[in-house]
C-alpha cells in the first residue's frame, strides 16, 4: 500500500493530537472542545483517531500483559534518572577528581598534592608582596625630601666658595683692583647693577640664586627659603 500523506483537514491538527492524548492545558482543552463542536472535520477525525488509539492500546495490553503500566515504570525511572543525571552533572568534576585519585598510583597522588601546595604558597607570597608595595614608594619620597635643604645648602656653599676663589685670582689683575666691573663673559656670574645693603663682594643675592639653579641643586620655588650664609670678609669689601 502506498504511503498516504494527506494534508490535515483542519489547521488545528496538532491541537487535535495534543487533546486526544490528554496533554493540552486546561484552557487549551476547553478551547479545543468548543472547536470540536463547531468543526465537523476535527469532530469526525477525533472519533476515528480515538478508535485507533484504543485498538493499539488493546494490542499492547494483550501482547505485553494487562498489568503492563509503562507510566508507573516511567515515573520511577524518570525520577531516578533525573536524579542520576542531576547528581551526575553536579558531581562530574568532583567525580572526575575522585576517580583520578582512585586510579592514579601513590607517587602521582603525592606529586599532585605537592604541586597544589607549591601553588598555594606561591599565591600567598604574591599576594603579600602586592599588598606591601605601596609603603615602599612612600618611604622613598620622604627620603628625598629629608636631604634636600641640607645638601643643597652645602653644595651651594661649596660652589660659592669655588667661585670666590676664582674671583680672588682675578683680583690680582689690574682691572679688578681698579674696581672694574667683571666682564660679561663669565657665564656663571650674573652682573647685578642694583646696589643692595649687605651685598657681597663677587655675588649678589640674585647671582647666588642663579648659581644654585645652574648647579641644579634647588627648585626655583625653593630658592626663597634658602638662606645662604657667606663669610664676613665678603661683606666687608666695598660694594661695586
Amino acid at each position: 500500500m502506498h504511503e498516504v500523506k494527506q494534508r490535515p483537514a483542519c489547521h488545528r491538527a496538532e491541537d487535535l493530537v495534543t487533546y486526544l492524548y490528554g496533554e493540552a492545558s486546561e484552557a487549551d482543552a476547553l478551547d479545543f472542545s468548543k472547536h470540536l463542536e463547531q468543526c465537523d472535520a476535527c469532530g469526525s477525525e477525533f472519533g476515528v483517531f480515538n478508535q485507533v488509539h484504543e485498538s493499539i492500546l488493546t494490542w499492547r495490553n494483550e501482547a505485553l500483559g494487562a498489568a503492563f503500566d509503562p507510566r508507573a515504570i516511567a515515573i520511577d525511572s524518570a525520577v531516578e534518572s533525573n536524579q542520576f543525571v542531576r547528581h551526575e552533572r553536579k558531581l562530574s568534576a568532583l567525580a572526575a577528581l575522585r576517580e583520578f585519585f582512585t586510579v592514579s598510583p601513590p607517587w602521582l597522588q603525592g606529586a599532585t598534592a605537592f604541586a597544589a601546595l607549591l601553588l598555594l604558597v606561591f599565591g600567598v607570597t604574591m599576594l603579600f608582596r602586592l599588598s606591601s608595595k605601596p609603603a615602599e614608594v612612600v618611604n622613598n619620597n620622604t627620603q628625598e625630601r629629608r636631604y634636600t635643604q641640607q645638601e643643597v645648602k652645602a653644595e651651594v656653599d661649596s660652589a660659592v666658595q669655588k667661585t670666590r676663589d676664582e674671583m680672588a685670582k682675578q683680583t690680582t689683575s689690574p682691572s679688578i683692583l681698579n674696581n672694574e666691573k667683571p666682564t660679561p663673559n663669565r657665564p656663571q656670574l650674573a652682573i647685578n647693577q642694583q646696589s643692595r645693603a649687605g651685598r657681597s663682594h663677587g655675588l649678589s643675592r640674585q647671582e647666588r640664586q642663579q648659581l644654585a639653579a645652574d648647579l641644579r641643586l634647588t627648585n626655583p620655588a625653593e630658592e626663597e627659603e634658602l638662606q645662604l650664609a657667606l663669610p664676613e670678609q665678603d661683606q666687608q669689601r666695598p660694594n661695586q
Binding site: M1, E3, V4, K5, Q6, P8, A13, E14, L16, V17, T18, Y21, E23, E45, V48, F49, Q51, V52, H53, S55, I56, L57, T58, W59, R60, N61, E62, A63, L64, G65, A66, F68, P70, R71, I73, A74, D76, S77, A78, E80, S81, N82, F84, V85, H87, E88, R89, L91, S92, A95, E99
Partner: protein
C-alpha cells in the same frame, strides 16, 4: 548508579538494565511486532549502550539515550530482515502469532476477534514508515509525552505531533480496510 556504570561497574549497569528492560522491550515489540525479535533487539540495545557508555556525557536523560539506541537497533533489524527477504518467515509467524495474555473470561468468539484485531493493528503499525512508526510506538507503548519523544529523537515538538497525526490517519485507513474485509 549511572556514575558507577560510567566508571565501568558491571553491577551498576545491571541495575540500569533491570530498571529499563521492560520499557525498552515494549518499545522494541511495538516497532518489530514479534516477541522474539523484540527480545533480541532489547538485548542488542543494552549491549550497544554498555559499549558506548564512555560516549554518554550526561547531557541528555538516560531514558532518551536508551530510546535512541533502541530505535536505531529496531530499524537496523528491519532493514536486515528486508534485505534477507524474510517474508516467508513473517507469514508463518503471523499465522502462529501468539497473544501473550488474554482475559480468561473472554468467550472464544471474542477471543478470536481480538486476536484478529490485534493482528491487524500489528500489521498496520509494522507497515508504517520508520519515522512514523517510532513515534506511534513511543507514544502508545511507552506513553511518553510529546516533549520526551522530541528529546529522545532530537526533533522539534511540532514535528512529533504532525508525525503522529499522519500515522494515525494511515492507521485509520488500513484498519478501515481490515474492518471492511471483516464485515465481508
Amino acid at each position: 548508579m549511572v556514575e558507577l556504570a560510567l566508571s565501568g561497574d558491571p553491577e551498576a549497569f545491571g541495575e540500569i538494565v533491570r530498571r529499563w528492560e521492560r520499557r525498552i522491550f515494549a518499545l522494541a515489540f511495538g516497532m518489530l511486532g514479534r516477541e522474539e525479535d523484540a527480545r533480541d533487539a532489547t538485548q542488542e540495545t543494552f549491549l550497544a549502550a554498555f559499549r558506548n557508555l564512555r560516549n554518554f556525557r550526561g547531557e541528555a536523560k538516560v531514558s532518551s539515550w536508551l530510546h535512541r539506541i533502541a530505535v536505531n537497533q529496531c530499524i537496523t533489524r528491519q532493514r536486515r530482515a528486508k534485505v534477507r527477504g524474510e517474508t516467508a518467515l513473517e507469514d508463518e509467524a503471523e499465522k502462529n502469532a501468539a497473544v501473550f495474555a488474554l482475559p480468561l473470561e473472554a468467550s472464544p468468539a471474542r477471543t478470536a476477534e481480538n486476536v484478529e484485531r490485534s493482528r491487524a493493528v500489528r500489521k498496520a503499525v509494522s507497515a508504517l514508515p520508520p519515522d512514523l512508526r517510532q513515534v506511534v510506538v513511543m507514544k502508545e507503548f511507552e506513553e511518553l509525552t510529546f516533549q520526551e519523544i522530541a528529546d529522545a529523537l532530537e526533533i522539534p515538538l511540532s514535528t512529533v505531533k504532525s508525525r503522529l497525526y499522519t500515522a494515525l490517519r494511515q492507521l485509520q485507513l488500513r484498519l478501515q480496510k481490515f474492518g471492511d474485509a471483516e464485515s465481508v
